[in-house]
Symmetry: C2
Subunit: 155 residues, 2 copies
Amino acid sequence: MAQDLKDTFWKRLDNVTAGLLSTDSERPVPMAPQADRGENAIWFITAAGSAADRASQSGGEARFDVADPKAGLYAVIEGKLDHGSGDKLDDVWNAFAAAWLKDGRDDDSVRLVKMTPHKAEVWATENSASFLWEVAKSNLTDATPEGGEHGRLAF
Amino acid sequence: MAQDLKDTFWKRLDNVTAGLLSTDSERPVPMAPQADRGENAIWFITAAGSAADRASQSGGEARFDVADPKAGLYAVIEGKLDHGSGDKLDDVWNAFAAAWLKDGRDDDSVRLVKMTPHKAEVWATENSASFLWEVAKSNLTDATPEGGEHGRLAF
């Protein structure tokens, strides 16, 4: 079940346009993720000096929250931030950022941030409101929520 | 501008299926909001004994995070929780919950929670990734981000 949920998590994260990234002692900021299961990473492109960039310089802990009904994914993901290298920036840029960044890859404010998740709580459902009610109610009973999956992942 | 952003915020919140509600000392949980600008409230239906229900009994502070690309709304909303009364539960039930709750209105585990926001940071955009990049970059320059609105609201 945990393996199935992990599959679902990575697949659906691919369809998430943006979530909220919170770094130590900073307010949450919406950021566009690029899921990379092969490297157990979530990549973000940001600007030099942003909260994510600063946290990545010091290897800080972060939380990435997803609440995307269209992607059918709700998740609270905890992990560590690092800054990404130049080669990886090229890859992420080509796969992802070139479509939406008007400025060029050589804009010297472009920064790559890598989040390495260590755990997550995940709710995967296409039928959000009724499933979330079932999850809330399942705390009180032994019933299994219908219409989705809910669980905790370790990475 | 703040008034325009407040209009946008309430209108778009109406289209948000679910976000993450965090109560004091509890983990975030996805919850389906019902926006109610007339009462300056966001209503939630939950089950007796859930974190939201318990926090509402003690008038606790809460944060509701929205990250819904389809609704074009990202927001970090801070406010106070209270429990809702029976009459209001009927209204919210009819407008909202009857569509997705299979169990009846008289299910004795149904609880109504009222969040009264006092402030929020809001990003409203249909063009998430590029706008969020512009916001990140605008911290470094005096440029106004294109493709959306970003600001802080007081209620």
